[in-house]
């Protein structure tokens, strides 16, 4: 086994898919190099470059964090685009909750469409009555 499959994906697109004979990345405990036949490894990814080497070609991608999964013949890099921090998550959780409470307090909705729909229904109903009346005449 002299090469392995590599796929690098971020949450909104596939960044790289192909084969390589060596891959370098910044793991959460430091720089790692992965050669074909590496034993299964699961580690976090630190912001930094991911280098994919194939024969004499080398491609570099920037990942702002995420995870890397290594199987003997497949390497999957799950990259985050969004900046992440636990403190940020917390703030967002609070914001989402507050929004829900606020909306419960004042129950409003966009009524424009409902208005238009009821107008159309009314017009149709009126037309029907007119037609019925005409038949009677």
């Amino acid at each position: 086994m002299s090469e392995f499959k590599v796929s690098i994906v971020s949450s909104n697109e596939e960044i790289f898919s192909g084969t390589a004979d060596m891959l370098y990345a910044t793991g959460s405990l430091g720089e790692i190099g992965i050669a074909p036949g590496h034993s299964p490894l699961l580690t976090g990814l630190m912001p930094g470059p991911v280098r994919v080497c194939n024969e004499d070609k080398e491609e570099t991608f920037f990942c702002s964090g995420g995870f890397i999964e290594v199987q003997p013949d497949v390497v999957t890099v799950l990259s985050d685009v969004a900046e992440r921090a636990d403190s940020m998550d917390e703030a967002k959780a609070i914001a989402a909750k507050e929004q829900a409470e606020k909306d419960l307090a004042d129950n409003k909705d966009n009524v424009d469409f409902a208005k238009a729909a009821s107008q159309l229904a009314e017009a149709a109903a009126r037309l029907k009555t007119i037609q019925k009346l005409r038949k009677k005449i």
Partner: protein, 288 residues
């Protein structure tokens, strides 16, 4: 009998409604492509995360995560993905009906029900219904950002870890094609262990975890669930635009039919008025 003025007024009002619906139809048609591209763009990530999660499930890990834990179902949380805007036919209501049916079933079995809501329409509907709402995310727009969903997901997952929620279900519309959208309920937690075909045939193995299994799995599983929810939002967006286009197309056609009928009526009324006037003149002349 209706007079000509009244019918004319109606024709012009329906015409202006038709203008609106046909404009909305065109807007939806132009957005379909974009939302579908986003939906397909998000698929590789969710597929890859799923693969990794399946690998983890088939490995004999030293650490068992709470998301895999099968508990007695006492409390279920529904993460509902709805659209922000209406005018998209029965898209939202078909999904909501399904959830309400399940919630009623839950009530019978003494299972508590709570909701985490995405989209203005979901918030309005379940707010009026009066369920327990854990959190909400609205106005994500045509290009949703994964960051906007982090807060909502965190609330639900934290409640699950605390033991307040035993089951989490993701409710959204699946995009089949432009004509068909399928309302689906998908169980997120407990995660299924999958079919352990591999582990039966091959040896037991485990990952080398760096730094440690707990933190890594925690992060990865959270990311997995976030990606599923995000993908559902993208898919729902594509569904919304498709459903909107069809609904507006029908509305435009109906308005056209209505205008035709009204125009016929208008001509009849006008002709009747003329005939009446003529006969009056003739009658008057005869009297003289």
């Amino acid at each position: 009998m209706a007079n000509t003025k009244e019918v004319r007024k109606q024709i012009s009002s329906i015409k202006s409604t038709r203008k609106i619906t046909s404009a909305l139809e065109m807007v939806a048609a132009s957005k379909i492509k974009k939302t579908q591209d986003l939906m397909f763009g998000g698929r590789p990530y969710s597929e890859k995360v799923k693969e990794v999660i399946e690998h983890i499930a088939s490995s004999s890990s030293e650490y068992s995560h709470p998301f895999y834990e099968e508990r007695k179902n006492k409390s279920t949380c529904y993460i509902v993905v709805g659209s922000d805007k209406g005018l998209c036919g029965g898209l939202n209501i078909n999904l909501f009906k399904k959830i309400v049916a399940e919630a009623a079933e839950n009530q019978k079995n003494d299972v508590e029900t709570s909701f985490a809501l995405i989209g203005v329409k979901a918030v309005t509907f379940f707010g009026n219904l009066g369920g327990k709402v854990l959190g909400q995310a609205t106005k994500l727009g045509d290009k949703p950002n994964p960051e906007d969903l982090i807060g909502l997901t965190k609330i639900v997952l934290d409640e699950q870890k605390k033991g307040n929620i035993d089951r989490v279900v993701l409710c959204s519309n699946k995009f089949v094609n432009t004509m068909t959208q399928q309302p689906t309920l998908q169980q997120l937690i407990p995660l299924s262990h999958g079919e352990n075909k591999e582990s039966q045939t091959s040896m037991q193995w485990d990952y080398i975890y760096e730094p440690e299994a707990k933190t890594l799995l925690d992060g990865l599983l959270t990311r997995y669930i976030e990606s599923l929810i995000f993908q559902a939002v993208l898919e729902n967006n594509a569904c919304e635009q498709a459903a909107k286009m069809i609904a507006m197309k029908n509305a435009t056609e109906n308005a056209g039919d209505l205008i035709k009928e009204l125009e016929l009526l208008y001509n009849n009324v006008r002709q009747a008025a003329i005939t009446q006037e003529l006969s009056e003149i003739v009658g008057g002349a005869a009297a003289v």
